[in-house]
């Protein structure tokens, strides 16, 4: 076991798994802080994954793919906002609907546009290649971890810090926090909490879209039905556990991503695939249980 963990190629694989969970969780964090109970991250992510492939295939560039992913995620955010904020639907109901809509829309479009069922792969789908960072790559152990990753990994790292500063020092960041804590204070100050929340949902959608792009055009160059496979839910748990604070979120998401990565590695070691597939969810459940327990004890 130790061998696996210290294996450089295992280390190198971790960021591929951390990035999607982290990006989606950062998006979820913005909603959480804005007081929008968004458990539709899974659907926003899945939409992003599909449109990343679509954009990359037709646009001929990964950047077009990433842009399409961001825009599609924002569109899902806008749908969420329309039905939750404007029409007053319960956020849990809207989340469930967004998840179903994403599942339906991606499979429907997969068949309508590419005329395939299940999965779509094509050499024309461009992907984010590894970026080698000269100084870093030479470092022992962490060199493998930090260098040679996709652009989106580095973007997600920057976003962790950026979001932290955003909440502390940016006008919209302050207002997002207020929308989550005491929205009446915003109303009294002449700012509409729902407009702030709309902004939060759009940002969340954009980040979840990027998370999806990492899945479909960075980790692999293809789209598979339901390829987010529950990672959006893991991101939701990460958000709930950290109450949307970016720095702790980074550690939790990294932990979940590392287990996800580990579950891939240990497949070759005689464990049935079902057990390795289960690992990330089990780890999430265990961490959630332990932290909830600690919180409960402290509250008593």
């Amino acid at each position: 076991m130790l061998e696996i963990i210290l294996d450089p190629s295992f280390l190198a694989s971790i960021p591929r798994f951390v990035t999607p969970i982290l990006l989606a969780a950062l998006g979820g964090a913005i909603c959480e802080r804005a007081g929008v109970f968004n458990i539709g991250l899974e659907g926003m992510m899945l939409t992003g994954a599909f449109f990343a492939v679509l954009g990359s295939y037709f646009g001929g560039s990964v950047y077009v793919g990433a842009l399409a992913a961001v825009l599609s995620g924002m569109a899902m955010g806008a749908i969420f906002a329309e039905f939750n904020l404007r029409r007053g639907g319960d956020p849990i109901v809207v989340s469930i609907a967004v998840n179903l809509l994403a599942a339906g829309l991606t499979t429907f479009l997969l068949r309508a546009i590419f005329d395939v069922a299940g999965a779509f792969r094509d050499p024309a789908i461009g992907g984010f290649g590894p970026i080698d960072i000269p100084g870093l790559a030479a470092l022992p152990a962490i060199g493998q971890l930090l260098s040679g990753q996709s652009l989106l990994f580095y973007v997600s790292l920057v976003l962790v810090l950026a979001l932290h500063v955003f909440f502390a020092r940016h006008r919209l960041g302050l207002r997002i926090r207020a929308a989550g804590e005491n929205p009446a204070g915003l109303t009294a100050g002449g700012v509409s909490p729902n407009r702030v929340r709309l902004a939060a949902l759009l940002m969340c959608g954009a980040l979840c879209g990027l998370a999806g792009a990492q899945l479909s055009i960075a980790n692999v160059n293809l789209f598979v039905e339901n390829m987010s496979a529950g990672r959006g839910w893991i991101a939701v748990v990460a958000v709930l556990l950290t109450r949307g604070r970016p720095l702790p979120l980074f550690f939790i998401a990294s932990l979940f991503g590392a287990v996800d990565s580990l579950s891939f590695r240990v497949q070759g070691f005689g464990l049935p695939q079902q057990f390795t597939d289960m690992m990330p969810y089990l780890a999430t459940l265990v961490v959630l249980t332990v932290l909830s327990w600690i919180r409960l004890q402290r509250a008593r």
Binding site: L174, R177, E181, T187, G189, R300
Partner: protein, 503 residues
């Protein structure tokens, strides 16, 4: 700034909340608006501030007619409002709270906190205000939060400041400080409107006073031309009800006995001890957030605590809520919207919840809807609850009737001990009278009543013995006969004179 409202009317459905009211305030004037809950004061001010759109009437600022599409318009025109329920962000610092919604930001939207800090300091020195800008608002006391609200308004350089019941949660000392600041504002030619129902304060601070009743303006004029008694008559519309008469106290056996109670939590409580005897009302005064809810939740079993609680001599501290209720405890909670009632359920369903005599309204596993409705109808008659009937949703009742339903349900159980937590918070005068009379009736019938209230008047009116709670500790006992407002006010704000009762 000069502002006037002309012929304002506001309808909420079939209800006329404000009915053809005209009203004005001059620069440098402190204008008090008084009236009981539901008289339309807050609604009128919400119109002036752009939170409510009037069905009729005009708003004039410095002589020009203005139309507000949102509070933002009013704020830009130089209006500021300090709301009754604080609109602050507990998790933010004082500085962040002050700048929120009018942040000095650069082109990218990042906030220049240094500039804000300097600007606030000027306001400090001019009006004699002091507060730590880096403190977390959640850690501040109520008086200081009030200051933050005022700083918010000052930061936007409001020329007309509306304060809605600003002293409701303040101690007498904090109130004095607030009034000093208001006078300083008036000297600065700012106009101030203060909404209140406390006539003593009107006499103390206002230049002019307007009285509202049932959505209409009853009288308006200089303070010099009116008296407290006349205002009181205008408020209730007729003669004042006679003050409550209380019979001499006949203290009986100890019903509730609390020893060495400790509660952990955001505001740790104790160790404290307390007895409530049959036939007496023990009042606990204090500014909210000093451990009242922790104490009550510990006694009712809603929160874990250590120590000994006896009810009629029987240990109940190891029992759950149902066990304690069964042993003879009723509870009128502060929050009728969430704790007192299930708003989505019918009056009947609410009335029958928590009854001990389950067999009276059920047959085996099934409900006896008719018996439930009969019981609810009994409460409706007995406590004069205005409801369409037992099947009406609790959410359709007005605040006062909701509260009467809660009080009725709990008092009808006729338990030896009744715990009442701010039992008349935010209800109309009629409901207050009924609830006070019922509590006194229970006392005279030999029930023990523990009354926790942030309204000092309520405590003074009803209690036989008084304690003050501050920072989770109880003061020494104050007999009602020797209770004095100033002394209790001191106890509400400092630990110095409060001693923990060790058992």
């Amino acid at each position: 700034m000069r502002a006037s409202l002309e012929h304002i009317s506001v309808d909420f459905g079939p209800v006329k909340a404000v009915d053809d009211v005209s009203f004005g305030v001059a620069a440098g004037e402190i204008h008090a608006i008084v009236g009981e809950n539901g008289a339309g004061k807050s609604t009128l001010m919400n119109v002036l501030f752009g939170l409510v759109r009037p069905n009729n009437g005009r708003i004039l600022i410095d002589g020009d007619e203005r139309v507000w599409n949102s509070p933002q318009d009013a704020i830009e025109a130089g209006l500021g409002m300090v709301h009754q329920h604080f609109m602050l962000q507990d998790d933010m610092t004082v500085l962040e709270n002050i700048v929120l919604c009018s942040e000095p930001a650069n082109a990218l939207g990042f906030v220049n906190f240094t500039a804000a800090r300097n600007r606030i300091r000027d306001g400090f020195s001019q009006h004699g205000i002091s507060i730590d800008l880096n403190a977390r608002v959640g850690d501040l006391g109520v008086g200081q939060r009030q200051i933050v609200e005022i700083l918010k308004v000052l930061y936007r350089d409001a020329r007309l400041i509306i304060l809605d019941e600003p002293t409701a949660v303040l101690t007498p000392q904090e109130k004095d400080r607030l009034f000093a600041i208001l006078h300083s504002f008036a000297t600065d030619r700012r106009s101030i409107i203060i909404i209140t129902h406390k006539l003593d304060e009107v006499m103390e601070v206002a230049d002019r006073v307007s009285v509202m009743r049932g959505g209409r303006l009853v009288s308006s004029g200089s303070l010099l031309k009116t008296t407290k008694e006349r205002m009181a008559r205008d408020i209730v519309g007729g003669e004042l009800p006679p003050p409550l008469r209380r019979s001499a106290r006949a203290p009986g056996r100890v019903v509730l006995s609390v020893r060495d109670l400790r509660v952990k939590g955001h505001m740790p409580v104790g160790p404290l001890s307390l007895d409530v005897g049959a036939g007496e009302i023990v009042g606990i005064a204090g500014v909210s957030g000093n451990g009242q809810s922790e104490l009550i939740q510990a006694i009712t079993g809603l929160r874990r605590a250590s120590g000994e609680i006896r009810l009629d001599g029987k240990r109940v501290d190891n029992m759950d809520v149902a066990g304690r209720r069964g042993a003879g405890m009723s509870y009128i909670p502060e929050d009728r919207q969430r704790t007192g009632l299930a708003l989505g359920a019918s009056v009947s369903e609410n009335a029958n919840a928590g009854r001990d005599d389950v067999g009276r309204f059920s047959k085996g596993p099934f409900l006896d809807r008719k018996a439930m409705a009969d019981f609810a109808r009994g409460l409706i008659d007995r406590y004069r609850i205005k409801a369409a009937g037992p099947r009406a949703l609790a959410s359709t009742l007005s605040g006062g009737n909701k509260q009467k339903l809660v009080v009725g349900r709990e008092l009808s159980r006729s338990t030896p001990l009744v715990i009442a937590e701010n039992p008349t918070w935010g209800v109309d005068i009629g409901a207050i009278e009924l609830i006070h009379a019922e509590l006194l009736r229970m006392r005279d019938a030999g029930h023990a009543i523990l009354l926790v209230s942030t309204e000092l008047d309520e405590i003074l009116t009803l209690s036989d013995r008084i304690f003050v709670i501050y920072a989770g500790a109880l003061s020494d006992e104050i007999p009602a006969s020797s209770a004095d407002r100033q002394k209790i006010g001191m106890l509400m704000t400092s630990r110095r004179t409060a001693t923990k009762v060790e058992a």
